[in-house]
């Protein structure tokens, strides 16, 4: 009998994975604890489940929560895609990706169709995702009500009693003062009719993607030691008034300068001669260009 027979998890090379060049970043007890936390989060959609967040080889605020979630659910048979602002080549995305693959033996891809786990900061890929996808979002501030209440004890009470009155008043005052609701990214949403969550800071553009999504979304906040989830086929409703429609980011007339898209989240490339626009989802854009024949 070899060690691998006793501890199958200790040899993460088989079934198509790549050999690991880094030791595990989390001990097995921690992974189990995080998996249990995730199960609770899935069972109570939108509830921020506290967990004993470990220190990661990336700084707090740099995806330490998302990294712990991914490391707890990834296996050597998985393929991970990691993006930052929608870009696979973003420097922090690259760093997280190599930590994940080098320590677990998981494969990597930039194409959602080839991936099983997508860890992301600030975006959901433009592609349609499947029911076997897990989206892991890195969360800097998990508390949606922090803008209206600072006291932790009061915040706990408000969530427990579903008392979101202060949030509604703040949205109302915003609308009255400014003519529109000025909340930008991380728009507060009611999950499954019960808990209000902070939608990381993904843009409003991505919010409709979460509603009744076929995929599981896990939110990891390492610094604040919270994990929450939106399970598949769950209602995610942005907080707004019946006569004030929820507005996503949209720039009339703007199209992607490289792939021509007018149905993706575009970011501005400023220039004195007039701005250009490009897709923030770099791999989606790349595949569209390829399909159009100008690679």
């Amino acid at each position: 009998m070899t060690l691998a027979d006793v501890l199958p998890e200790a040899s993460p090379t088989p079934s198509g994975g790549v050999p690991t060049s880094l030791p595990p970043l989390l001990d097995e007890h921690a992974k189990r604890e995080i998996r249990r936390t995730i199960l609770t989060a899935v069972a109570v959609p939108g509830y921020q489940v506290p967990f004993g967040s470990r220190e990661m080889p990336v700084a707090r605020g740099w995806g330490s929560g998302g990294l712990q979630v991914t490391l707890a659910v990834v296996g050597s048979g998985d393929t991970v895609k990691v993006i930052d602002q929608g870009d696979d080549a973003g420097v922090n995305a690259v760093n997280l990706r190599r930590l994940i693959t080098a320590s677990t033996g998981a494969n990597e891809s930039t194409v959602p169709e080839e991936s099983t786990i997508i860890q992301s900061r600030h975006r959901i890929p433009e592609d349609e995702l499947r029911s076997d996808h897990i989206v892991v979002l890195q969360v800097p501030v998990p508390e949606p009500l922090r803008g209206v209440e600072r006291d932790q004890r009061e915040l706990a009470r408000m969530h427990a009693e579903a008392d979101y009155a202060k949030m509604w008043v703040s949205l109302y005052e915003d609308k009255v003062r400014n003519g529109v609701i000025t909340q930008t990214t991380g728009y507060p949403c009611l999950v499954d009719g019960r808990y209000v969550i902070a939608t990381t800071p993904i843009p409003r553009w991505d919010i409709p993607r979460l509603h009744q999504a076929p995929f599981l979304t896990l939110f990891g906040a390492g610094r604040e030691k919270r994990i929450y989830a939106v399970p598949p086929h769950t209602d995610v409703e942005p907080l707004t008034f019946t006569d004030v429609p929820f507005e996503v980011e949209r720039t009339p007339g703007a199209t992607c300068a490289t792939c021509g898209s007018d149905r993706s989240f575009l970011v501005e490339v400023p220039a004195a001669t007039g701005s250009r626009w490009v897709c923030s989802d770099s791999d989606w854009c790349r595949r569209r260009q390829k399909a159009q024949g100008h690679d």
Partner: protein, 373 residues
């Protein structure tokens, strides 16, 4: 596989890593070995062990060297190393009276029971920059080394300096209690200490959570929180009178898995502080004092004193103000520094969303643009 698309970022960070590594390792001066750091930069090593939550001088020295002297970065390296280790056992509770003191001062009395032992401190040394050249420093070092050897040789065979009572002095609290000058907050039950590494501590947490949080907190954060509360707008915090400031060795007993008996597996140096609080609240006992407690890894009196003062301040505040939340949630060095520095990450998706809302406000309020600015 679309791996090529991710190349640009990887090349850039590999180059940055290589630049840091090359300039650090290939510096023209001598290699800085672990012993040099432990012996000559001991206070930095102590801080890193305390904030990193690991007692291991050599590991802390390696972390400090790798972090190019950045204390928070070094503590981060130790903590993420910790995350890879399984927790095999908990140590047994140890009596604080088992502390063998290297230094002990009692500012509250001129002649307290037990010694006033200054020990290794530069508290009373003029802060003058020693503009001494390397040759003279080496000469002095040689003389001091020789003199030290001579002292050790002369003392060989005789009893060690300081009696047991002097090295484990009675604490001032005992005397104050005998004088009936202390309110008695001791509890009869013996609850398990709150483990901040496994359960997030939030306001309303037991005192042990507060103490553990402060023991691992960033020293500067505690000093600042203390000073803010003395002078700043946050609140009013009493200056305590120090009862005990101790630095010394504490044994670490662990139950032997086979015999079931505690065995000493090592010892750690700690700084321990007892702070006497003058109770002056309307509902408080005006005839007695109360005591705050601070204890942290290594020699770090600044931290232990701030900790003891904040401990008693939290207790007296009893959740009326946000002090406890500040202590529990804002003093961790890794949390604060990491979150501050994350602002360096790309934020162009969120910024795009913000610009879009500025335009939306303008569109909703066209009159705004005609107003003189």
């Amino acid at each position: 596989m679309g791996y090529a698309a991710a190349r640009g970022g990887l090349d850039a960070i590999t180059a940055a890593e290589q630049l840091v590594r090359t300039l650090r390792l290939a510096a023209p001066s001598d290699w800085l070995d672990g012993d040099q750091i432990v012996e000559r930069l001991r206070l930095a090593v102590d801080r890193v062990m305390g904030e990193g939550g690991i007692w291991d001088e050599q590991l802390a020295a390696m972390a400090l060297r790798q972090a190019e002297g950045d204390l928070i970065e070094a503590a981060h390296l130790l903590r993420s190393y910790r995350s890879t280790l399984p927790r095999l056992a908990y140590s047994e509770p140890v009596e604080a009276d088992d502390l063998t003191v290297l230094r002990r001062i009692v500012p509250a009395f001129r002649n307290p029971p037990g010694p006033q032992l200054l020990g290794r401190t530069s508290d009373y040394t003029g802060r003058l920059l020693e503009l001494i050249d390397d040759d003279r420093a080496r000469e002095e070092a040689d003389k001091l080394t020789a003199a030290r050897r001579e002292r050790v040789r002369a003392a060989a065979g005789s009893a060690p300096a300081g009696t047991r009572d002097e090295r484990r002095p009675q604490r001032l609290m005992t005397l104050l209690r005998d004088m009936d000058l202390l309110v008695d907050r001791r509890r009869d039950d013996d609850p398990e200490p709150f483990d901040i590494t496994r359960v997030p501590a939030r306001p309303g947490a037991p005192r042990s959570a507060r103490l553990a949080t402060m023991a691992r907190a960033e020293t500067g954060a505690l000093v600042n929180l203390w000073y803010r509360n003395i002078l700043g707008p946050d609140g009013y915090l009493h200056e305590i009178t120090l009862g005990e400031v101790r630095h010394g060795w504490l044994p670490v007993p662990v139950v032997h898995p086979h015999t079931g008996h505690p065995v000493e597996v090592g010892r750690v140096r700690v700084t321990e502080v007892e702070a006497i609080e003058d109770l002056d609240g309307l509902e408080e006992d005006r005839t007695r004092f109360d005591v705050g407690y601070g204890l942290c890894f290594g020699h770090n009196e600044r931290k232990a004193i701030a900790m003891a003062n904040l401990d008693i301040a939290c207790d007296r505040d009893a959740g009326r103000s946000a002090l406890e939340q500040s202590v529990l949630l804002t003093t961790d060095g890794l949390d604060a520094a990491g979150f501050l520095e994350h602002l360096k990450l790309p934020h162009y998706v969120t910024f795009r969303s913000m610009v879009e809302r500025k335009m939306a406000v303008r569109a909703a309020r066209p009159a705004l643009q005609e107003e003189p600015s």
